[in-house]
């Protein structure tokens, strides 16, 4: 793994200074100093975040402090009940599933969970699902369909787990079936890419009526490291690959591959989770309202047609 240049070090320095002043200084001296530093912090964040390279954006998207599915559930849903298992083989902690209320509306919620600290990350297999994860997700989607509940998914995964057991149990089949079934699911589906949209493991819960992406999240067919290893035979050229893959929210939106960018303040969701939760909430509220106007047949038709339009080619 190559060293990632710490482009946020200046932000952290100022943050530490603020912490120290809050702790040590006398109240009268505090105020002026703090105001100055906070202004400096804001400016620094703006400078850094308005000029992020694609590779730096990948780093932000992968930041373990970024809010993950369980944080979002805690912040914008109520009465969450998690349910486990695919009824065939086992449970997968890399995908969290359950039911909850969103502003009074009953929903099925599905999302990757990478984990914040080392212990949780190991427990969650770093957010890399195995077949039972996709199958659990599909089971919950089918339940949602049966009981006419909207499905809200949150995408944040490096990708499918490249291990022997996942292959043996048919992860390709599990992903494929999800794609086909989601395309025709008779209920509303809204997906939001919150961090890393890693290829098939992401898409397996991402065939939706609306696909949103947070401003500093990414979505790609392969990781920049993987791409660099194959194309340039050198994983350390990931920064070039990140640029080539056009994986940022802005690029994806301009290609019509995602439906909406959800704003994050300069500094990102890990610095301002509350603001981002509010933005996610507002987006989901609007989209649920909008989509619930449609007849189910029309909803599915529009969903499919959206994906049918995707592609870059010329007819001759």
């Amino acid at each position: 793994m190559q060293e990632v240049k710490d482009f946020e070090s200046r932000i952290r320095e100022i943050e530490e200074k603020i912490e120290q002043i809050k702790f040590y200084e006398k109240p009268e001296k505090k105020e002026k100093e703090l105001l100055k530093l906070e202004r400096e912090l804001k400016k620094e964040m703006e400078t850094i975040y308005s000029n992020l390279t694609p590779w730096q954006t990948v780093q932000v998207a992968r930041n373990p402090k970024r809010p993950q599915t369980l944080d979002i559930i805690r912040a914008i849903f109520s009465d969450f009940v998690e349910i486990h298992g695919d009824r065939h083989f086992g449970d997968d902690e890399a995908i969290v599933c359950g039911f909850a209320r969103f502003e009074g509306i009953n929903c099925a919620v599905i999302g990757h969970q990478k984990g914040h600290d080392t212990k949780e990350r190991a427990f969650r297999n770093f957010g890399m699902p195995k077949p039972e994860g996709y199958r659990k997700a599909l089971r919950v989607m089918k339940l949602a369909e049966k009981f006419s509940l909207p499905v809200l998914t949150f995408i944040d995964t490096p990708g499918a787990y490249p291990g022997m057991d996942a292959e043996e149990r048919g992860q390709a089949e599990a992903i494929a079936v999800n794609l086909r079934e989601m395309a025709a699911l008779k209920t509303i589906i809204i997906s939001t890419v919150t961090g890393e949209g890693g290829s098939g493991g992401a898409l397996a819960i991402g065939v939706a009526d609306r696909v949103n992406i947070l401003k500093y999240a990414v979505y790609s067919v392969i990781s920049p490291e993987g791409c660099a290893a194959i194309l340039y035979k050198d994983a350390s050229k990931a920064d070039i690959a990140a640029q080539s893959l056009r994986l940022t929210a802005k690029d994806l939106f301009s290609f019509g591959l995602v439906d909406r960018i959800i704003e994050e303040p300069y500094g990102g969701a890990h610095h301002f989770p509350e603001i981002v939760f509010e933005n996610i909430k507002q987006t989901l509220r609007e989209q649920l309202r909008e989509l619930s106007q449609l007849e189910i047949e029309e909803l599915i038709k529009q969903r499919k047609e959206k994906f049918y339009r995707m592609g870059a080619l010329k007819e001759v």
């Binding site: 494929a176 079934e181 025709a184 098939g200 067919v221 392969i222 592609g311």
Partner: protein, 283 residues
């Protein structure tokens, strides 16, 4: 504990490329290493007569093999790839496309035809591994989508022969979304109760396996084909161990319940005909 093991995984041998068997010459079989007569291999549909190793064949050779009297009408020929991302690696994507078009004589990594297999009218899609490793970009996705539309319009069954390294990196998320596109279209086909048979040949991996290749009403594999999602090298790097010999091979998938049957190339046409007749005759 895989993460404690520091030894480097051994590199897997280079995969076999589509083979041109020279006429009247003796060649070395890539399966058993024995010397076999080229003409014999050729006559045996490029299968080693000694060990049944299936050499790679081109999409045209496959069509020759599967279509009645080798006759077919190629359709959906008007789609050309684009370079939506201005993708640059060691060679610009556009240039790469040009090179492959010249080299393979195909415009893209899939050929779609209207044909008859054992007298059953069928829409047949055959992937061309010789075109950028059979990778799936926008054109491959769109061609299959349109092939499915034709199946529905003309009430015909669908057969796709896959040979692909997966989604094409040079089109990034455009390629990824072809997985969703084709899978969605297959749900339309299923709704119409028209059969779809998927034939998986060496190799079928990545986003192609994780979409249409695994979604057949019946999934048929050629012997000893590599079939999986993650490539063996990636898995070896993850688990830091050498994979067992037959891992991700057709016979292994059969054992694990992931394909319905493994069929010798010489029997493929007959088996397809039989399966299609079972699924189409609703008497």
């Amino acid at each position: 504990m895989w993460f404690r093991k520091k030894q480097k995984p051994e590199a897997t041998p280079e995969k076999a490329k589509a083979v041109k068997v020279p006429k009247g010459l003796w060649i070395k079989c890539e399966g058993c290493g024995q010397i076999v007569y080229g003409d014999t291999v050729e006559k045996n549909n490029k299968v080693c007569p000694k060990c049944n190793y299936h050499f790679h064949i081109s999409s045209r050779e496959r069509l020759e093999l599967l279509c009645d009297e080798g006759k077919y009408e190629e359709i959906i020929t008007n789609l050309q790839p684009e370079d939506p991302l201005n993708f640059v690696d060691s060679k610009p994507y556009k240039e790469r496309l040009n090179d492959y078009q010249k080299k393979s004589g195909e415009t893209e990594a899939i050929v779609v035809v209207r044909t008859e297999i054992e007298k059953i009218r069928t829409i047949l899609c055959v992937m061309e591994y010789g075109f950028m490793g059979g990778s799936m970009g926008s054109v491959v996705g769109e061609k299959i989508k349109r092939a499915i539309d034709i199946c529905i319009e003309e009430r015909l069954p669908l057969v796709i022969v896959s040979a692909s390294g997966g989604a094409r990196m040079q089109e990034s998320v455009f390629s990824l979304m072809q997985m969703a596109k084709v899978s969605a279209a297959l749900s339309d086909l299923a709704k119409e109760k028209l059969p779809y048979i998927s034939v998986l040949t060496d190799p079928t991996t990545g986003g192609v396996t994780a979409s249409y290749a695994m979604l057949g009403d019946v999934n048929i594999a050629e012997p000893k084909a590599l079939i999986g999602f993650a490539g063996p090298r990636v898995i070896e790097q993850t688990i830091r161990q050498k994979l067992p010999e037959n891992f991700q091979k057709s016979e292994f998938l059969l054992e694990k319940g992931m394909v319905d049957l493994v069929v010798h190339r010489n029997e493929l046409k007959k088996t397809l005909g039989l399966m299609l007749s079972f699924l189409l005759d609703r008497s």
